[in-house]
């Protein structure tokens, strides 16, 4: 099975051959490296940019203004903060021009903890990004969703933000992407750049890749359950699934929703699940103060208060200036499996 990095690469290949993508660019995105997480190896429209994030986002806006559909990468979301001005602009120019202009551009950037990245390779970006109107924001938790969400981004006429959960980029899926070779080694041989000299190497893309699309705005129920709903995305999704599986032995039945799209999000799915279980935890790893999950808690309280049997909870990252490098520090700063299990148990057992 493909890893998420390979899935993104295949979707981008489909994009540049079938969906009119003209430019995939950013720091070290082109040859020889093909991205620090290998997500852009072997593609024909990739190129390396100057080390200039504001230039990168500006270039993407300008390319999009000409109708050139582009994908810009910010190497780590920790370094996207100096572009916020330009992200706001990309998100407001359709509105500011009263619908005249549109900017078909995708920005992708690795987010979150999980690779012992210390202070500047562990940031999350969902809280900040969901505060910028005019974008559609997605974050997959599996290779097949990464493929389908990327295809959806590449078809959208608006700016789209594709957040890549760093910790999951090398994790293999358990579902074949349509057109993906069944044999993992064959896929590697075809699309992973070799070590050493790559100057003559060319990817041999699987021929049967398709238009497989995960619609923006649609979540996915990853585990059905009765007693408590966990709403999450990205790195913490597989942890929530593990928590659900472990809690079965305690007769706690957990429903796990993968939001997949952060904005505009699938409130219908979330609210009907909460109406069913009457208990909810919003889970993500961005810092907890003015966290996107707080918005979801607010909406839950305002719209579903009388459906609830327990206080709605937010389980998120500690509000610290960064994630410390040492293992005990990272474990204590971002939600881990044990935190999720404890909170799910607590919420499930809270007296109505």
């Amino acid at each position: 099975m493909a890893s998420m990095a390979q899935a993104i690469r295949m979707a981008l290949h489909y994009g540049e051959t079938k969906l009119g993508v003209t430019d995939i660019f950013g720091e070290d995105v082109g040859p020889p490296l093909g991205g620090v997480f290998t997500a852009t190896q072997g593609l024909k429209t990739t190129w390396n940019s100057p080390l200039d994030e504001r230039g990168i986002i500006g270039a993407a806006v300008g390319l999009a203004s000409t109708g050139s559909r582009c994908v810009a990468e910010i190497q780590f979301c920790d370094y996207i903060y100096n572009t916020i001005d330009l992200l706001k602009l990309a998100g407001n120019m359709c509105w500011a021009s009263n619908g005249q202009w549109n900017f078909p551009m995708t920005v992708m950037t690795p987010v979150g903890s999980g690779i012992r990245g210390s202070i500047y390779h562990s940031h999350s970006f969902d809280a900040t990004m969901t505060h910028i109107p005019g974008w559609k924001i997605v974050m997959p938790s599996s290779p097949i969703d990464a493929y389908g969400l990327m295809i959806a981004c590449l078809k959208d006429p608006n700016p789209t933000m594709f957040l890549k959960p760093k910790a999951l980029l090398r994790v293999r899926g358990d579902e074949l992407i349509p057109g993906e070779p069944e044999n993992e080694k064959e896929l590697r041989d075809r699309i992973d750049a070799p070590l050493g000299d790559r100057s003559k190497w060319k990817a041999r893309w699987p021929e049967g890749l398709t238009d497989y699309t995960v619609e923006i705005g649609k979540g996915k129920i990853q585990r059905e359950g009765e007693h408590v709903t966990i709403v999450t995305y990205g790195r913490t999704l597989p942890l929530a699934v593990q928590a659900a599986d472990q809690l079965k032995s305690e007769n706690i039945s957990v429903e796990v929703i993968d939001m997949r799209t952060l904005w505009p999000y699938d409130w219908e799915m979330i609210s009907s699940s909460i109406r069913k279980t009457r208990r909810v935890i919003f889970l993500n790893e961005d810092t907890e103060v003015t966290n996107f999950g707080e918005h979801l808690v607010r909406r839950t309280v305002e719209e579903l208060f009388y459906d609830l049997e327990a206080r709605p909870r937010l389980l998120a990252g500690a509000f610290t200036p960064g994630i410390g490098l040492a293992d005990p520090l990272e474990m204590a700063s971002a939600p881990q499996l044990n935190h999720i299990i404890e909170m799910a148990r607590e919420v499930a057992n809270e007296r109505a």
Partner: protein
């Protein structure tokens, strides 16, 4: 960074004025200079009469902006020029064919404002059919977005170029450096005309107190970009500098930098009173003196033209007064392309 090229006197007793441009071209430029100046002055009056919340614009930049707009290749798509402009660009757009009344609409923030539907300040134009990107208040971001259409123009070939302009103080922002870096990469030079209109101020702060470089254009030279400092208060000097620059960019497909020394005739904006600044050189006055001395137009003809334009503008203001304000139910419209109403 005191100016050396700004003319110090209006040149009142001119003799022997010879123009290189043809007579009808001079008349057209003069007409557009008045169209621009009087529009700005009308909008200042609107501000003072409480018919608009805020004014800022480009009176004092006409001698440069009209020749720029007139020499643009105007149309939609990469065969034509892309424009990444700032808020002193009405002269450029009027020379491209924009209508005065649309600026008045934006000043009055009526729903009929074709640039922003009443959402943005005056002189924050947006004209997609002419590749004019939405003008934004964020200083210097246009120098970053211009990179992208520059890349697209390079790939597309042909004669279309990317034009970007901004003020002198804004060059301290990172995007200015981005623009110089990205437009001059070896083997990937971009067909961009990069313009800084230098009026020697950022709101209240004199450039001389913040900038050590002799000329802003020297920074472009460091990237091997062709660069020139010109007197933007002189019509013909501007015309031929822009002509040379545009020809170079259109054919060589490489960047060219112009630092144009201009006036700021009504101060920064309405925030600083929008009052006439008698110490600044007035390019319209200079041009009219020359036109008169050369026998192109008489004082009487020019006065009559002014009167006619003033009357027309008053009519436009009256008309716009009757036009509707945007409907509050539309606040969410076009957050996304083609979308109307609340979307979440």
């Amino acid at each position: 960074m005191k100016t050396q090229v700004k003319p110090s006197s209006g040149g009142k007793h001119l003799t022997n004025v010879k123009f290189k441009l043809a007579q009808e071209q001079l008349i057209k430029i003069h007409d557009l200079m008045l169209t621009t100046r009087m529009l700005e002055e009308r909008m200042i009056k609107m501000y003072k009469q409480n018919e608009g919340y805020f004014w800022l614009g480009g009176p004092g930049e006409e001698a440069f902006n009209i020749p720029l707009g007139l020499q643009g290749h105007v149309g939609e798509g990469l065969d034509y020029d892309f424009w990444h402009l700032h808020y002193r660009s009405s002269g450029i757009l009027l020379s491209m064919g924009a209508e005065q009344i649309d600026f008045i609409r934006q000043m009055k923030n009526t729903v009929t404002d074709p640039f922003s539907g009443g959402r943005n300040f005056c002189n924050h134009s947006s004209i997609r059919k002419w590749n004019v990107l939405p003008i934004t208040s964020t200083i210097e971001t246009q120098f970053a977005t211009a990179i992208g259409s520059g890349i697209a123009h390079k790939r597309h070939g042909g004669k279309g170029i990317t034009v970007v302009n901004g003020g002198d103080a804004g060059t301290a922002e990172g995007e200015f450096a981005s623009c110089l870096i990205w437009s001059s990469r070896p083997e990937q030079k971009l067909p961009m005309l990069i313009i800084v209109t230098n009026n020697e101020y950022g709101i209240s702060t004199p450039a001389s107190t913040q900038h050590g470089e002799t000329h802003i254009a020297d920074r472009a030279k460091a990237f091997n970009i062709e660069a020139k400092v010109i007197n933007g208060n002189d019509v013909e000097e501007s015309w031929f500098a822009i002509k040379e620059a545009m020809e170079y960019v259109r054919t060589e497909r490489k960047p060219y930098f112009i630092e144009s020394r201009v006036s700021r005739l009504y101060g920064h904006s309405s925030a600083s009173g929008a009052n006439f600044q008698p110490n600044e050189v007035d390019p319209v006055v200079i041009f009219e003196q020359k036109l008169e001395a050369a026998g192109v137009l008489s004082r009487k003809e020019m006065d009559e033209l002014r009167e006619k334009k003033a009357a027309d503008l008053l009519e436009m203001q009256k008309q716009v007064r009757e036009e509707p304000m945007p409907d509050p139910s539309t606040i969410y419209d076009y957050t996304y392309f083609g979308q109307k109403g609340k979307y979440w």
